[in-house]
Structure formats: structure tokens, C-alpha cells
Point group: C2
Chain length 347, copies 2
């Protein structure tokens, strides 16, 4: 947080809500053919050009979803946008536009808000998304960010959670558990700093897990790659709450069970070693940690050849009948029930 | 607020986020042809059927936009939905769908959340809107509501703020200042109760101003009536921040000035008499009070005959050249500059 008392900084009250809207509204000319009217009227207007419209919205609250003691505002703005984009990509659709609501308490300066918007704009630029609206408001205490993402697609392109079938392959992208590891690292260093402000935070050698927590990316590259390979997943969602709970959602929506192999779940070596230091099983972090923003999807077995060489896609198991439940198999061959809390054998 | 310690009430933690989503998701079957997929996937999906898409989003924070000391949760849910609908109607378009994000602190029970959603559902039902998504989240302190409304229209139907022309009529619907009067009444009674909890609140005879504050309606009836009369406003917005500031927005967007007659601004008699009791000029409340959710619009002079008999529409002035500025004329014939803070003659 930038100090309020710095005379070079501008109090939010000095420019007011309308001043803030004008400041935020100073964006480049829209390039999407689907964007007709952005910030500056009662509504934004878009042209779906014959496509279906997809919408998703997310709420981030200070103290629950982020801690400004260690999250830079620019990163926060970036993440607030990206978590929305991830929901759109999980439908196999690229995000097109974003609405962002922001509530701020009096402690924030205009310069702090500029930092936040730099992050939002950076994410929009990277993902080809246009910021077309939002509400700015004051809050009694703390910051709240509420984003709504809009995308367009033909019905044939959209992938729901409910389309999986028995014996299909269950896949994840990238690796899991690192965002949770990064959070634990930041919390540890915050505690050390609290106990002794003279100690400098020791974040060295942990770049990867920190970046996964502070500046996550959504897998737009996978959506592009799958389209290029001519693959349409049968069911898909993003992994924001942890793999175990997301598998449960796909199984429930598709009316199926699943069989997962613990040692197939991809965990980055640096995340695994940090988690082991904390006496956390990397598999538990991958299953329950959350915030990885990777994709979980099911594929027909006939697509196996096409994806088998992709380093970014790992098959972690297969879909089974609902009556078989959701099972996880450990390397020693033991099979247990997988719940959103982990798996029973380890509890 | 319902007490947490009542054993008949259910703690939010007992059902968890997914339990809450299931509870909220138990809505009726969708009837809008434009609603394809509601709550239960990463995105909601809609079919604009060849129309343009309109989107607006609003954020309400406890302590800033509402005070749970005197706002019943059902009314709050209703209002949170209606303020979004009002933004859509201000574009001359009826709202079709709603996404609602809610952040709640641990003090809220499941029963309290049910009350809130009763209000949201009641508003949706009344306005023909379908709740198709939203995020539920915890907050460290207080409640946050963030709604996003979606509507569909042909481009010819949409009314922007920027379409007004010189010499056009400037009109408002209903009456203004009553929501502000209601807020002042509630604040007064809250203070009296704080000073002496034995005193019962005296709200008698003030039903109208209380309802305007606690359960505002958006003017969907006016949008229907204008369409039936074959009238399309040239510019329009809703009056949420106060008439003076909204006139400024239309003038700026349309590149014009305006001339307003103070004694033409409609104020309900019961609101006027309560405001006079408080030594607040009713015109000041109408110009700056906000939260009335009436519509402000401009019409071609040729539409005068058509609207002249509507009791719900009042002509308060006319649009002029930008060089003439925004002026207000008091009954004694004095003309002053109108600013978002009121008018200078009275300051």
C-alpha cells in the first residue's frame, strides 16, 4: 500500500467518482467487431454476430481472496481479470470483453487505483479482451473486485461440464499445487516479518510458486492448441477450487464416477520440494490447494494419439460408471474414495 | 439481522459454498427463449437471436449503499436487482437476465441468505428477468452485492445518452427527492433509537418516502408506454445519482446545454412536507438526492402532443446550445448555473 500522507499522491476524493471513471475510461479504440459501446453510458453494447453469448462473474474480497500485505496492486488487477478469463476458457471459448466493478475504501490513492488498472489492462491486452464497463464505488473497509467476462461462440464449440462419458480420458493441463505452495510461502514470510520486522523476506529460489500464486495465467494456449489439433473436449472446467472438488463437479454434472491415479497428477518439482519442507503431501496440495487455473477435461479415447505428445496435457485417469464412485489409486495399488477433502486413506 | 445463536437457524458454514449454490440454483425452469444455460457451469449461456447485447453492472456495499440496521434483507435483494434493471431500461431495453455476486461475512445465517434471495427472485419475477448465475463468497466483514444485467435489442431500439439535439424537450418520469427523504427519515429514527432504545421508531404517515428508499421500482412501465405511443426518446438515462448530475451527463454526451425550470421538477407532496420539516428545499433534494430510479430523457418537440396527457411524464425544460451552459430558472425568473452540487443562487 502506498502511504496516504505522501504529498505527491492524490487522494481519491480529490478526483471523485466521475473523475475516476474518466481516468479508467481512457482506453484505446476498440478493435473487436463485437464491441459497440464501452464505458460512458448506462450499459455497454456488444454485437454477438449470430453467436451465442457466454457470461461469467467472480467476486474477490480483500482479506478473503487476497492480502494486500504481500500482493502488489498491479498483480491483483491482473489476477482479478485472469480468473474471469479462466471461466470462459473452461467453456472452450475465448474471452472477448470484461466488466469490472471496484469498491475502494478511503485509504487508497489515485495512484494505487492506477496500479490496479495497469494490471487489469495488461491482462486484457495479453488475452485480447476489451474492458467495456464497470462500477466504481467506495467501501467502508477494504477492497472488493467483481468482474464479469463475456464471450461468443457457436453452440457446437461450447463445452459444458455435463458431456463426459464412461471410459473417456480425464486430463489436466500444466501442473497443480504450486499456487497453494506460493500462498503458504507468502504467509510464512508475512508471519516472520510480523514477529521481527528487521528480517527481510526470503523468497529466493521460489520464483515459480510465487508467480503461480501472485500472477496466475489462464490456459488460452490450450484452447488454441486443442482447436488446432481438431480436438473438442467432451466436458471441461477450470481448476480454481482444487482438483478433487472439480472432478466431483464433472462427475456429478455428467452422471459418472472416475478413477484417478495419484502418481499421474502433475506437480512441479520446486512446488513439491517446498511442500515437503512444510510436511504437506504434494498430492494433497494438488487435489485441494486451488487457484491453479489449469483446465480439467475429458476426451474420447480416439483422441489419445493426438494429445499424447503434448507436454502440457497429462492423463490422470478415466471416467467410470456413477455406481463405481470417484476413486483414487495410490502407487502401492490401494484404491480409496476421493472426496473434496482429499482421500480417506490419508486422513 | 437474525441472531446467530438461535438454534433454529443454520450457520452458513454448515451448508458450505456448494450447498449455498445448490440452494440458490433451485429456480424454476427458464421460459426466456434467450436463456440456454443458467447456474451450474463455468459460464451462463444465452442466445441473442440476432439482437445486440446490452450489459450493465453495479456494486452495493454494506455501510455505503445500505445499512442493515433498517433495511430488511428481502428489500435489499429486491433493490440490488432493481437498480441493475433500471440501467437497462435507461437504454430503452427490457432486462432479460441477471447475474448476482454475493459476499457474506460469518454473521449471516442460511435463513438470512434465503430472505435476500426471496427479494432477488421477487424482483426477477416482477420484471420478467431470469437469474442465470453469480458467485457466492465470504467476506471478512459486511455484505457486498454485485449484479450484472443482460438485455437484447435491435440497434434502432437502443437509446444512448448522446442522441439529444437543441430545442428538444427534457422530461422526467414520476417524482424526485422522495428516496432521499426516506433515507433521512430512516437515519433520524436510527439515531433516536441509538440515543434511547426504549423509543419505538415513528415512521407513521411516511409510507411513500420509505417505500421509495427501501423498495424502489424501475420504470419498465414507461418503456412499455413509450413503445405503445410510438415514441423513441433521443437520449435517456436513469436518475440514480440525482437529477442535476444526470442532466450534466446527457448534456456532456450530447454536446449541449440545457434550461430547467425549478418549479416544473415533480416532487411528491408527502416528500416535500417531510423535507421542509428538515429545512431541506425539496428542489435541492430532487436535484441532488439520488436513488429515485426515475428516467430522464429528451424528446423531439413533435412528440409533445403524445406525451402531454401522461401523468407519469413531466417536461422540466429544454435542451440548448453547449455555449449556453446548463441553467436553472427559479419561479421569480432568476436564471442560475446548475451544477451537480445544486444551483449557485442557493449556495
Amino acid at each position: 500500500m502506498i502511504e496516504e500522507t505522501n504529498p505527491e499522491l492524490t487522494n481519491l476524493q480529490q478526483i471523485g467518482e466521475f473523475g475516476l471513471i474518466e481516468r479508467i475510461g481512457q482506453t484505446k479504440k476498440f478493435v473487436h467487431e463485437q464491441t459497440i459501446k464501452g464505458i460512458g453510458d448506462d450499459c455497454a453494447v456488444t454485437d454477438p454476430q449470430g453467436k451465442k453469448v457466454l457470461l461469467s462473474t467472480d467476486l474477490l474480497c480483500e482479506g478473503v481472496h487476497f492480502d494486500l500485505a504481500y500482493v502488489p496492486l498491479k498483480h491483483l488487477g491482473y489476477k482479478a481479470a485472469v480468473v474471469n478469463f479462466s471461466d470462459m476458457l473452461a467453456m472452450n471459448v475465448k474471452p472477448a470483453q470484461l466488466l469490472m466493478n471496484i469498491a475502494l475504501s478511503a485509504k487508497f490513492t489515485v495512484e494505487a487505483v492506477d496500479e490496479l488498472y495497469k494490471g487489469i489492462h495488461a491482462a486484457c491486452e495479453k488475452y485480447g479482451v476489451e474492458l467495456i464497463g464497470g462500477d466504481t464505488s467506495s467501501s467502508i473497509r477494504g477492497m472488493v473486485l467483481s468482474g464479469t467476462v463475456i464471450g461468443y461462440a457457436d453452440e457446437e464449440q461450447i463445452v459444458y461440464r455435463s458431456g463426459a462419458a464412461e471410459r473417456e480420458l480425464l486430463c489436466v493441463t500444466g501442473d497443480l499445487g504450486a499456487a497453494y505452495a506460493g500462498l503458504r510461502l507468502l504467509e510464512r514470510e508475512k508471519q516472520i516479518f510480523k514477529d521481527n520486522p528487521a528480517v527481510q523476506p526470503d523468497l529466493s529460489g521460489n520464483d515459480y510458486i510465487l508467480e503461480r500464486q501472485l500472477k496466475p495465467e489462464a490456459r488460452i494456449d490450450i484452447i488454441t492448441a486443442l482447436a488446432e489439433m481438431g480436438i473438442k473436449p467432451t466436458a471441461m472446467m477450470d481448476i480454481s477450487d482444487g482438483l478433487a472438488s472439480e472432478i466431483g463437479h464433472i462427475c456429478k454434472a455428467s452422471g459418472l464416477g472416475a478413477h484417478i491415479y495419484l502418481n499421474r497428477i502433475p506437480v512441479d518439482p520446486s512446488a513439491a520440494s517446498f511442500l515437503e519442507e512444510l510436511k504437506v503431501h504434494p498430492g494433497v496440495a494438488a487435489l485441494n490447494g486451488g487457484e491453479d487455473y489449469e483446465l480439467l477435461f475429458t476426451l474420447k479415447q480416439s483422441d489419445y494419439e493426438k494429445i499424447s505428445k503434448s507436454p502440457d496435457i497429462t492423463i490422470i485417469g478415466y471416467m467410470s460408471a456413477a455406481s463405481e464412485g470417484i476413486k483414487i489409486e495410490t502407487p502401492d495399488g490401494r484404491v480409496s474414495d476421493l472426496t473434496a477433502g482429499g482421500w480417506n486413506a490419508f486422513q
